[in-house]
Amino acid sequence: MKFVLSLICLIPVSAWGDGHGPAFAYSTATLGSGDASFETAFMWRSGSIMFGPRVSYGIRQNLQISFAAPFDITHGDHPTGRFDAMMPGNPEAEVLLGWRFYHAAPGISTRNEATIYAGASALTQHVPRDDGPPLQRQPGMYVALAAGRVARSYDIWAGAGYQRYGQLESGLHDHQSNTFLSSFAVGWRPPVLNKDYPKPDLRFFWETTGEVVGLARRAPLPPEAGGKGGGHGHVVPPVFLLQSLNRIVYLRNSGGRDVFSGPSVLCTYRSLAFQGGVLFALLDQPNGRQQQEDVRVVVGVTYYLLGRRK
C-alpha cells in the first residue's frame, strides 16, 4: 500500500486549481495571510499542449491575488474556452483577485466557504487559426463564484464563471470567444488514507465541467473586399464566416458547447502539492469544422510558502 501511495505521489502533477482543491473545477481561495504558492502545470487537450505557471499570494486570510501566464506549446483547432476554473484556456497573462466572502468552520476539519473571483487578462500570443490570420489581441475580464464544503472524509465544490473579451473600439476590432464555465466536484478521502499530519495526504475527486464558448468575431471586411471597412479587416473566405444583419462578421469555426467529467487526484506532502486529472467528454459540440475533444489532462506541481508572516 505504501508503495502505491508513494508512486501516486511521485506522479508529476499539481494543484492546478487554486491550491489544494479540484484540478479543473472551481474551489475557494485557501491561502492564509502572507502565504504564497508557485504552481507549474502541463495541460493537454486533444492536440494542444499548454504550460502554465501561476503565482498566488494571500493578502489577508480572505483575500488572495494570483498571476497566471499560460502559453501554448502546440495549438489544436478546438474552441478556446477556459481550460479550468482558475486558468485561462488562451495564452494570456491574467491577474485574479479572490475574496472569500463567506467562511465558517462548524466543526473539526470542516469548513463551508464561498469565494468570488474577479480578474483581468491580456492575450500574450497570437493563436493560429485555420480560417485566416490570428485574431487581434484584446483584453479580457473574468468573474466567477465558487462555494463548497470541505471535510476530512469528503469535499463538495460548485461554481460558475464568465470570461468576456473587450474591444478597444466597438465593432471595429477582432473579438475572442466569450466563455461561460460551470463545474461541480466531489472529493473523497478513503478511510485507509485518512492519515494524520505530517504523513502524505491523498484525496480523490470526481469533477464535471460544462462550458459554453461563444463565436469569435473578426473586424469587418474592408470595402475593397465587400465589407464596410474599419478595423484591420483581414480578408477571409466567406465559407468561414457568418454575417449578421448589422454586418458583424462571426467566425463559423469558433465556439461550441461541451461537458467533461472524470477523476483527479491530489497528494500533498510537506510544502508540495501534486495533482493530476483526466476529464472525458460527455458532450462535445464544437461549432463548424473544429476538432472534437475526447479528453483533457492536467499534471503539475505546486510549492507553498506557508506561515511566513512574523
Partner: protein, 141 residues
C-alpha cells in the same frame, strides 16, 4: 551651573534603571488548542509554521484528526494567547477551547493572572491558594 559628580552618577544610575529593565516575561508553558476547519496536510503545515514563528514557541504538533494544536513554550517567553488566536484566524481557521498550563498568581478566589502576559482567566481551582506564583493547568473557552 556647576558640575557635580554626584548628580552625574545619580543620573547614570537612573538611566540604567529606566533602559535596563526588561519587561516581565509571560509564563505560558503548554497549550492544547482546538482548531476548527483544518482539513488537509497543507492546512496543518501552514498553521504549524505560522504558530512556530510566534516568540517563545518551542514546538508545535498538529493533529488533523482531532483538530488539535499542541504548543510547548520556552520558559520566560513573551507569548500571549491573544496572539495565538489572531494567528489562527489569519490562517483562515477558527480557534476554540484550550487547555493551558501556565505559571501565574491567583487574584481573588478564581482569577488566575498569567505572569507577565497581562492576560487572566477565571479558573475553577478551589484548592489553590493565592500566595506566590503557582503552576496551573486549566481550560478556557
Amino acid at each position: 551651573m556647576t558640575f557635580s559628580w554626584r548628580a552625574l552618577s545619580r543620573s547614570l544610575a537612573l538611566s540604567g534603571l529606566l533602559f535596563g529593565v526588561e519587561p516581565l516575561h509571560a509564563e505560558y508553558l503548554k497549550i492544547e488548542l482546538r482548531v476548527y476547519g483544518l482539513d488537509c496536510g497543507l492546512c496543518a503545515r501552514g498553521v504549524a509554521a505560522s504558530v512556530q514563528r510566534l516568540a517563545g514557541v518551542k514546538s508545535v504538533d498538529v493533529s488533523l484528526k482531532n483538530g488539535l494544536l499542541e504548543i510547548v513554550l520556552e520558559r520566560g517567553n513573551t507569548f500571549k494567547m491573544s496572539d495565538l488566536r489572531r494567528r489562527i484566524r489569519e490562517n483562515g481557521f477558527r480557534s476554540m477551547e484550550a487547555t493551558i498550563t501556565a505559571v501565574g498568581v491567583l487574584n481573588g478566589p478564581s482569577k488566575f493572572e498569567v505572569t507577565g502576559s497581562g492576560e487572566s482567566y477565571y479558573v475553577d481551582k478551589p484548592d489553590a491558594k493565592g500566595v506566590g506564583p503557582l503552576e496551573l493547568t486549566f481550560q478556557v473557552k
